[in-house]
């Protein structure tokens, strides 16, 4: 029973992480890069209009970061809940 409860907690936490990270994923690419791009284009970063930069550069960098953050969070979570493959 104890084990059962633990796993539920693990899954819930995982879904939370996924939810938060995917919101960032959506906001940066579809928000900044597409829907709000015309507005962001009023601002400049060096020679880049900001909306254009998010669409062609920034969102890709954010994608990479998101995956590594998720990997870090999940490795920690695996250890916390004792489901890590290392302890097998």
């Amino acid at each position: 029973m104890e084990q059962e409860k633990d796993l539920k907690g693990y899954w819930k936490k995982n879904l939370q992480y996924v939810g938060v990270l995917l919101s960032i994923w959506f906001t940066v690419s579809y928000g900044f890069g597409i829907l709000l791009a015309p507005w962001f284009n009023n601002f400049k970063m060096g020679g880049f209009k900001l909306g254009f930069w998010f669409a062609q550069q920034g969102s890709i960098y954010v994608f990479v970061i998101l995956i590594f953050v998720y990997v870090y969070l999940m490795n920690r979570l695996d250890k916390q809940f004792g489901v890590s493959e290392e302890d097998a």
Partner: protein, 587 residues
């Protein structure tokens, strides 16, 4: 030494490496053949995935496409990278824990239904065949452009190489050749980019260069200069684009979700030892992919600027030598509509169709200004220049005046990109046939050895079929990429996501969803792309969504139908629910 000699040398060396790896990594069991025994290191797998994913289109065509689309090119940049976030967070770790060989395996077991498995196999085969034909074509093109070999023989040579390492080594051979191919293709892509970025902006890093001040003494930012050139010539601003926001949105979703649903990408995450490795290897893969994908928009801007500055409003007689070289290949042609001897570059097509060179007795005929004559009917637009998008990457080194070995490197890189993707797809085809069809449907007691033999035969046959389509491409080959992504988005993705995250989803719901999504997407694409291309304009599209973006709607339809139909029928059996529970935890 000239470009051709350099190309022979570089292509020869890289091919020798691929064959060497194939001999070293011969597969002895189905587990080695299908998933390299599940023993690939995450970093290696990341690199192999990147090569697997980046096709001839990514390498040869994407930067050129973007350079003609401007801002709108973002649909490819975001669409073909954002899917990896979905893979890492929603798919790869769970499919690794599931621990079988193929995507149809998962669909079949999760939905306890052979019918579901069969539908998945059919989707996997359609997606992979449409894709692989394009790769073979890419191989043929590189051979014919750089080595002056006939496309037919180019494809045959490409087939022979892939045949060798895919049939012999299976996933194991493919994985290690893909690592080598990644190194070749990324080096080939980056070297010209460094040089050109340095020339145009003084910054060696292209990602920074294209947002820097142009080094022509004007003191303007390069992008502002390009926007200005565009406006002067009557084009829309480069940084704004012309597609509607909703269409950009839908295409991007379809490409992202499609990427995450492509069987040849997913299967790569079956090859690592642990769940943990599956997560991190998606991360590595995206890093390796991002190097090329963040450079491509910079190349697009450099190439666009160089092209406009070199040709626009200049007399034909002052054109550099490369202009004539590409004229003779019918990829860059000029028709002097107002007969002033000056090249006018403006929006709109210059001619009807693609250039047909006028020849008599095999000799190319030349016009008044010594330009290569073409027989196409001229359009009424001001534009006098036909530019094939693919030459933006191929001709870039020459346009920038770089040494011959750089141009040869691009040829070797293009071949690496095409061959690595083709091999990954052929493996999906061969496992679909030998494992999902022969073993699971017809002969459940097949021995491992016999199954391996079938896998090799299937791979060999697939190479031949792919080669045939490479030599005789069906007229709609360029159109079918939309189908591949649309199908993957509308069929696999929702079924797999529901399978993992919704324990109570039953086979009736999943099947109904897949069929609905598939039929809807397929009919929309076939209607606009093949049956009635004359209606393929925004005013006829539903909600302004182009066929490229319709997979998104197909995916939503799939989800809705699956949930509705699923609610009517009973829950899946207990052991299936337990299995779903099991794949959620690494241990």
């Amino acid at each position: 030494m000239d470009v051709q000699v350099w190309t022979y040398i570089l292509v020869g060396i890289t091919f020798a490496i691929y064959i060497g790896i194939a001999i070293w990594s011969k597969a002895g069991s189905t587990s080695e053949f299908y998933v390299a025994e599940g023993a690939v290191k995450p970093l290696t797998n990341g690199m192999a995935t990147a090569a697997d994913w980046m096709s001839a289109a990514s390498f040869l065509s994407m930067a050129g496409l973007i350079s003609f689309m401007g801002y709108d090119g973002a649909v490819y940049l975001m669409g073909w990278t954002g899917g990896y976030v979905l893979l890492a967070l929603l798919l790869a770790p769970y499919l690794r824990k599931f621990g079988k060989f193929t995507v149809p395996d998962f669909i079949g077991d999760r939905y306890y239904s052979n019918l579901a498995r069969t539908i998945a196999v059919i989707c996997a085969l359609i997606v992979s065949f449409t894709y692989v034909a394009g790769q073979m074509r890419g191989v043929g093109l590189v051979f014919s452009k750089f080595l002056e070999v006939d496309i037919f023989w180019g494809v045959i040579i490409g087939m022979a190489i892939v045949f060798f390492y895919a049939v012999l080594g299976g996933m194991k051979g493919i994985t290690y050749t893909q690592v080598a191919q990644y190194c070749v293709l990324i080096f080939a892509f980056m070297v010209p980019a460094f040089f050109i970025s340095m020339q145009l902006t003084g910054s060696p890093i292209p990602q920074i260069g294209f947002g820097s001040v142009a080094s022509d003494g004007s003191g303007m930012y390069l992008l502002d200069k390009l926007d200005q050139l565009h406006t002067e010539l009557g084009f829309a601003e480069y940084t704004s684009g012309t597609k509607s926001i909703q269409d950009v949105f839908f295409i991007t979703v379809a490409l992202m979700v499609g990427t995450a649903g492509l069987p040849h990408v997913i299967v790569r995450f079956f090859t690592v030892p642990k769940v943990k490795d599956a997560r991190i290897s998606v991360g590595y893969a995206l890093v390796f992919i991002a190097i090329l994908y963040t450079t491509a928009p910079a190349i697009a801007v450099f190439a666009r600027t160089n092209l406009i500055e070199t040709v626009s409003e200049k007399p034909y007689s002052e054109m550099p030598e490369w202009f004539n070289t590409w004229e003779e290949t019918a990829l860059l042609n000029w028709v002097d509509k107002n007969e002033d001897g000056i090249i006018n570059y403006a929006p709109g097509a210059a001619i009807v169709g693609s250039p047909e060179i006028v020849r008599s007795n095999g000799e190319i005929q030349r016009g008044q200004h010594n330009e290569v004559m073409i027989s196409n009917e001229a359009t009424i637009s001001q534009n006098e220049l036909y530019v094939d998008r693919d030459i933006m990457v191929l001709a870039n080194p020459e346009i920038a005046g770089l040494p011959a070995w750089v141009a040869a490197l691009v040829a070797a890189g293009g071949l690496a990109a095409a061959l690595s993707t083709a091999a990954g797809l052929l493996l999906v085809i061969s496992t679909s046939v030998s494992h999902d069809l022969i073993k699971k449907q017809f002969n459940k007691d097949l021995s491992d050895k016999a199954e391996l033999r079938y896998a090799r035969i299937a791979a060999a046959l697939a190479v031949v079929v792919a080669g045939y389509f490479g030599i005789n491409p069906p007229g709609f080959v360029a159109q079918v990429v939309a189908i591949a992504f649309g199908l993957a988005a509308a069929s696999f993705f929702p079924a797999i996501i529901l399978g993992i995250f919704y324990k109570k989803m039953n086979k009736e719901g999943a099947l109904a969803g897949m069929v609905a999504g598939l039929l809807f997407t397929l009919s929309y694409i076939v209607f606009f792309k093949i049956a009635f291309p004359e209606y393929n304009t925004p005013e006829y599209w539903w909600f302004g969504i182009s066929p490229e973006g319709i997979g998104t709607l197909g995916m939503i339809l799939n989800l809705i139908v699956a949930l509705l139909v699923g609610a009517i029928f009973p829950e899946p059996p207990g052991e299936v629910q337990e299995m779903v529970e099991g794949i959620r935890y690494p241990r």
